[in-house]
Symmetry: C2
Subunit: 649 residues, 2 copies
């Protein structure tokens, strides 16, 4: 008899060894149809592999990361089979899954290359092989047999991999005419794969080492339904249009310069306006919540990071230290603001009455990333965090947590992020030794987070063992307009830094106590947040936020003076307005300014000049009729007020 | 016959050799009374030294730097004479002048030390010697005689100095019983010195080298009138009270931390509020003048500074370069913002119609200073410039210059700096090879500055040869409430960086042209400006600017709730208000908050709570009676509006 414990803690008993598919079938026919792989005591297995002893299992479908990985892993093998069909003698390196899809690094026979046309042929062959529903069979093999097999195949890449494995751990997977060295798991058969797209070809050094041979990397993605592939391709197409690097250029928000350095954005005037608008907004919200702004330098003595522990942990992978002409001094670009804020906390003694202290800074930090890892504004080497540290007493933790949740909600509302989830990360209850701080404090902190979320009516998932070693946390994930997930707004409890910096306050009992620290940055970084915002809105920012709210378009140069008069009036009324004075046709001016995503286009000609009106177009919506300039100003100011209503006061 | 050319180019003829005193007497009896030394063909001479050939001369009085230096230099000799009187056998090192006064490094006889009481004795002796009006006599001497003389005196310090001099260049000065090796010049006699104060004693290594013997450094200051000394001592006393480091601590504006590093200020909440208020103010003014804000990183590839020329010039005395884990990359903390702004200029091609571009950034820069040079906020290693660069066509230079002068005037007015002077620095017309850029452009630029100042009605002095090699400039000096001068607001024309960065615009003629750059930072740096502001106002900032405009003081804890209600109302009305909720006597609360320089103290007790009023005290002015809270709000908002009226709009 085999006892199977399911995630809901219920137990199913089976008379003899059972596989994942059979377990799924015993639960529901629908699940049996959808299941792709199974976790057995935490290890992902083939659906058809027999479970012979009592075990805890979890069934995986397309909705799980593990299910998708099984699916794409088998798809990589399928691709390899198709490639071998067309290019016999190809040697196969490794074929892992990626965020969306999979790749295989291959060494084509001498003189062969892959073209776009080849990719189409391979896709067709894969579909043909998939339709054959070839069984994918796992077998265990001795190291000697494995070496013999791939020696025969003359595949020195696999031989290199096998030589590093221990005997007794080697498995093969076979489907149709293709056998691969592989740890698995895989789908039961190739028939699960219904839709295939090979997306790109790239060069890649064998095992990522530039001293090795350059291989061909083929990327692909597959789905269990044709419709899913179509949706995915449409999303890719839309994502390309919304790429923040492209829109950032069109809207003149930011640029990069090789001379300044990679991953170091230069904010152009309109991007700076956008950033300042976001910063001012958050400053106002934070002021309402009792935050105080501070400013600290962008470097610190290396001792500071030795105290914080950052130097030991990240020092050698970071920007290196800065020496001075005098000996005995050594500085570092600050990779985070917390050590500086701890030093500010310490500048004078604190009493329990002084807490909570909410210390905020738009602090620019520098972290080294390899140049290959850099990407637009989402992966940079210098970025500004909307950072704050709350120093509080343990009994204040829940209340402070709730207030941070409030602030995050205000931001989500202002930016119109409607679709978000939250995750509470707690200790692994079985590994108490992993965590710093007393059990009592952890219990209190975890309880505070759970209750704060409940009291705020927040739907959460709770993950055990996902807490940092120095404290539990709450993470927010938002889903953007294209359905992509972005992590924003972590709230992290910290018992470690107060200890390392020996922060103290005098309690009501006249004794010294350690404050608790909360780290939080609702935007995360201004750079990444703006990138997400661009891709979420396709550059059509909320009216209150967008750098230029209106542009005046004179029909001909004759009306430039009136256009400037309108623009001056609107700017004095706090509506960010520019004039397009170029000597271009009005149609061209409209097109160009629509591309700049300016929400209001105000066309002025003879009639408007005479009647002191503007002819209003809303970007993407077309003509809104004409109105007095002052009416238009009221109209826009009301729209802005509506967007922000209830946020500040 | 000797022809003497005076600074106004007039020529005086004398039948035979003449000295400075005789020249002064020939001009006016008053001048003859005041004159202290004389420049002869650019070299400062004793007043009694005969001029035997035609020469260009300038007479120096107490109002000149050179006059004061002569006075203080003779005072150092006088002090040495008095010290030798009390401590025969003392050896004398060097005795130069400093900013205010002079010092002498001396080696007292074995076992002797100077006490405060000794200083008083020495002062008295100096006064006695001064009243004797002993003539100060210059003599030339051979190196051999000089060596013999100081060997007899057993003064190895002087012997070391003499051994480094060339024969034929050695002069001695004698007064009374004291003879010193000295280049001069000196006063005619000791009688000029009427008021004496020896200010302090310090240790100093001989010739500043820590391997040498530690000498005793005695500081002093002297004046031609007793009243001047009294005023000076009163000023010193007041300056001590106004020291920005002291007030910065009392008002909780900023602090330093050894762990973060020397010369790297940490801005506390109130100091940050002050900075942000200044920044917002300047941003608004600059927006009105067509400036656009940008943001750039705090580091740049070292190539950037090789292009700009800064690396070659300052590299080895600066913070050293930052290496990365990957090879071939090297960054520098940015010592200035201009190279980054040049890169922004270049991000897309420019036409003559795009100019002027006025690019502003509150840019934090880092420059290494030796730790001994650091001083509060006036000499730091990291500071934020209110920087902007104007890229314009040569024909726009005058207009842009005038607009920058406007902005500087607006700031001086807002801060209530009434006493300022301006200096125009032009080329040395005799050394055209020193300057980069065409003669034509220089002529234009110098003319533009001169005319801009004239048209703005600015009183200026013009200095030839004081221009930087890359362009002429205009400097503003302000005199603070203690009569001390501070340089603020340089406007610098630059032909060099546009050349080095190959900046271009397409002219109306369809050809490529170089723009001209103007550097300007009216505040200079936020750090230094705030230091000056603190010392000028003794921390009593203008109401619009001060971090906390009002504090509510409940008479007892019973009225804390009403106090908070008042504070909330005022904060919502945009008046920065705090509550002093401490359980202290009202007298103590008033004293403590006066020390924090909060302009309005609002006392609330039973009567105020019942009538919804506040009892108003103006800091330093006392009771202003009671008024409705809303009346008080209007009153304060009006005062702020009055202070800023006409500045923004």
């Amino acid at each position: 008899m085999v006892q199977i414990t399911l995630p809901d803690k219920s137990i199913k008993e089976f008379p003899e060894a059972v596989d994942g598919y059979e377990i799924a079938k015993s639960i529901s026919p629908r699940l049996a149809k959808d299941v792709l792989s199974v976790s057995v005591n935490g290890e992902v297995w083939d659906l058809t592999r027999k479970i012979t002893k009592n075990a805890t299992v979890k069934l995986h479908t397309w909705d799980d990361r593990e299910g998708k990985e099984t699916f794409w892993h088998s798809s990589a093998h399928l691709m390899a089979e198709a490639i071998e069909h067309f290019f016999p003698g190809t040697k196969f390196g490794i074929g892992p899954t990626v965020d969306t899809g999979f790749y295989y690094d291959i060494d084509l026979p001498e003189g062969k290359q892959l073209s776009e046309k080849d990719l189409q042929k391979i896709e067709q062959k894969m579909l043909e092989l998939a339709r054959q529903k070839n069984e994918i069979v796992r077998s265990e093999i001795s190291k000697e047999d494995a070496l013999n097999m791939f020696t025969t195949k003359n595949d020195e890449l696999k031989l290199e991999l096998i030589s590093e494995l221990e005997d007794g751990t080697i498995t093969l997977y076979n489907q149709g005419n293709f056998t691969d060295l592989c740890r698995g798991p895989h789908l039961p058969n190739t028939g699960f794969i219904k839709a295939i797209k090979l997306t790109s070809i790239a060069g890649a050094y064998w095992r990522g080492d530039e001293h090795n041979k350059m291989l061909t990397r083929v990327y692909g993605v597959t789905f269990p339904k044709q419709k899913m592939l179509e949706e995915y391709l449409a999303m890719l197409e839309e994502a390309k249009k919304r790429d923040h690097r492209k829109i950032g250029k069109e809207m003149e928000l930011f640029t990069f310069s090789e001379e300044v350095g990679q991953g170091l954005p230069l904010w152009l005037p309109k991007g700076t306006q956008l950033r300042m608008q976001l910063e001012d907004f958050l400053k106002k919200v934070q002021k309402k919540y009792g935050y105080e702004q501070v400013m600290t330098p962008h470097i610190g003595d290396v001792r500071l990071y030795k105290t914080s522990g950052h130097y030991e942990k990240y020092g050698k992978d970071s920007f290196q230290t800065i020496k001075t002409p005098a000996e005995g001094e050594e500085y570092m670009l600050k990779p985070m603001n917390c050590p500086h804020h701890c030093e500010i906390y310490k500048w004078k003694p604190k009493s329990y009455k002084d807490l909570p202290i909410r210390m905020a800074e738009f602090g620019t930090v520098y972290r080294y990333e390899m140049s290959g890892e850099l990407h637009g504004l989402t992966r940079v080497r210098g970025f500004t965090q909307d950072d704050a540290h709350i120093f509080c007493r343990p009994d204040q933790l829940k209340d402070e947590f709730k207030k941070v949740i409030d602030i995050i909600f205000i931001i989500f509302k202002a930016i119109d992020f409607k679709d978000y989830t939250a995750q509470i990360s707690l200790r692994d209850p079985e590994k108490p030794e992993k965590y710093i701080g007393s059990k009592e404090n952890w219990d209190k902190a975890e309880q505070a987070i759970i209750e704060a979320c409940e009291e705020k009516g927040l739907k959460t998932v709770t993950e055990l063992g996902e807490a940092a070693f120095y404290g539990p946390k709450l993470d927010f994930m938002i889903k953007d307009a294209l359905g992509r997930n972005w992590q924003l707004g972590t709230i992290q409890v910290d018992y470690n830094l107060p200890e390392r910096f020996q922060l103290e306050y005098i309690g009501a009992d006249d004794n010294r106590h350690r404050p608790v620290m909360i780290h939080r940055a609702p935007f995360g970084s201004m750079e990444r947040f703006i990138a997400v915002l661009i891709e979420h809105t396709a550059g059509k920012f909320p009216l209150w936020l967008t750098p230029e709210q209106a542009v005046v378009l004179p029909i001909s140069e004759k009306y430039n003076d009136y256009a400037k008069k309108v623009s001056n009036f609107l700017n004095i009324s706090d509506i960010r307005t520019v004039v397009d004075e170029r000597n271009e046709k009005i149609g061209r001016k409209i097109r160009d300014n629509e591309l700049k995503r300016i929400p209001y286009l105000l066309i002025v000609g003879e009639k408007e000049t005479e009647t002191e009106t503007v002819s209003v177009r809303r970007q993407g919506e077309g003509d809104k009729g004409s109105m007095k300039t002052s009416e238009f100003a009221d109209f826009v100011l009301n729209e802005v007020r509506d967007q922000l209503s209830g946020l500040y006061n």
